[in-house]
């Protein structure tokens, strides 16, 4: 039965992926992609990885879906649907590659324990109780730190493309029906609570900074979609601080170790330290993901004027001083 379920999930994944590639309409492809994300999280739940399933559902299906749909709406070309595909013959080499890789997969001995033993040994020392969180924040904290850096860089890149000083989201007009506001007033506290709960959970059970950050980011996107003015009222400096906070705390963690003359990122195994970093990381992830989701908008407020000016001058970088 379990085998049957696995085969079913696997087959559907491949079938949907195939449909995503072949779908004639872009909208169809995006919707299929969201389905694909949900199915993927199902597969991961099957593989005993609830953290990843949660994250994938929130990001792969949720946030990526929102982003894709949003972009699709913005770049839609009314009246003409051009698939514009070429190189269909490349399918053959790709399948060949798949065959080769499959051949080598046959040779994998699936009894390898990987680093599970080493993690178990490490769990004796670390102050965290849940292994995934321990790997993320402690054993391989450097990766997580730099991952926050990637997130920050994406936001910086977005600002660079949009030539904005900060994400001042173009506030959509509030929804006509009061249902939207009502929904927000119910949903938002719930979202905040769920996120906080996940964060707290992460210390000893599936959950943690990333999942919490994603949930909060969903709240932010919701606020924006509903046209709530609160995001626009956020001061720029606060926003900047929020985006960089997790990263900065990690930096502090790394730097203080140097002062104590220990290798970078070594920290006293006190839970408070790690939790502070984790909470800050969650906040930063939320801020950055919200910014990524809504910051790609074309500016329509007063920034637009300055954007036009920026573009004109940005084409030729010139010197301001030292003439």
């Amino acid at each position: 039965m379990a085998l049957f379920l696995d085969i079913l999930v696997a087959f559907s994944l491949v079938a949907i992926a195939w449909r995503i590639m072949r779908a004639p309409g872009h909208f169809q492809a995006v919707v299929l992609f969201i389905t694909f994300g949900l199915l993927l999280s199902l597969a991961w739940a099957r593989l005993n990885s609830p953290d990843i399933a949660l994250a994938e559902a929130a990001v792969g299906a949720g946030l990526a879906g929102v982003l894709l749909l949003d972009t699709l709406r913005a770049v839609a070309q009314p009246g003409k649907v051009k698939t514009g595909a070429h190189f269909s013959w490349l399918l053959l080499p790709c399948l060949l590659l798949a065959g080769l890789l499959t051949l080598s997969i046959i040779h994998i001995q699936p009894d390898s324990q990987g680093l599970a033993r080493a993690v178990e040994a490490g769990m004796q020392t670390t102050s965290l109780e849940y292994p995934v969180t321990a790997v993320l924040l402690d054993f391989r904290g450097y990766d997580t730190w730099l991952e926050l850096g990637v997130l920050l860089a994406a936001v910086l890149g977005l600002l660079c493309v949009r030539r904005k000083k900060s994400i001042r989201a173009p506030l959509l007009p509030a929804p006509a029906e009061p249902v939207g506001r009502w929904l927000i007033s119910i949903l938002l506290p719930l979202i905040l609570l769920v996120g906080g709960f996940l964060l707290w959970l992460g210390a000893f059970a599936p959950g943690g900074a990333f999942q919490a950050g994603v949930v909060w980011a969903a709240g932010g996107v919701l606020l924006w979609q509903a046209g709530h003015p609160s995001l626009g009222a956020l001061p720029v400096s606060l926003w900047r601080t929020g985006a960089v906070l997790g990263f900065a705390l990690f930096w502090l963690l790394a730097a203080t170790a140097l002062i104590r003359n220990e290798p970078m990122l070594t920290h006293p195994q006190a839970k408070a330290w790690i939790l502070a970093v984790e909470y800050a990381a969650a906040l930063s992830i939320a801020v950055c993901l919200t910014s990524l989701a809504i910051g790609g908008q074309k500016s329509e407020d007063r920034n637009q004027k300055s954007e036009v000016r920026d573009q004109r001058s940005g084409d030729r970088c010139q010197i301001t001083n030292n003439r």
Binding site: A2, L3, A10, V14, A17, W18, M21, H26, A29, V30, F33, F36, A43, W44, L47, N48, S49, D51, I52, A55, E56, V59, G60, L67, L68, T71, V75, Q77, G84, A85, S88, L90, L91, C94, L95, L97, A98, L101, I105, I108, P110, S112, G114, A116, V119, V132, A134, L136, D143, V150, L151, A153, G157, V161, F210, I285, C288, L292, G295, G296
Partner: protein, 107 residues
Amino acid sequence: MHGFYIYAITAILLFCLGLWGLAFHRNLLRKIVALNVMAGGVFLFFISIANPDQSGEVDPVPQAMVLTGIVVAISLTAFALCLARRIHEKTGQNELDTSCSIEDGDG
């Protein structure tokens, strides 16, 4: 045991389909979707090796790596989509203009 091979091979197929889609589509949005399918395949592979025998014991390291990978992927996707939108605003096209000769602009 078999579950591992099923998911690992699925992962490979997803990766290769995504790769093909990346080359196959001209539309930028579709290319980005294809990249995400590729990423999904890679992540699935990691999780399948984290849990080879589908018993309760799961290797936490690949899980952590996938979580990191998901964040990286969404960051890059968001940035790529933003670029695609900007290109659409400037050219009205959703494709990379391959015929656009890079020789024409000055500077």
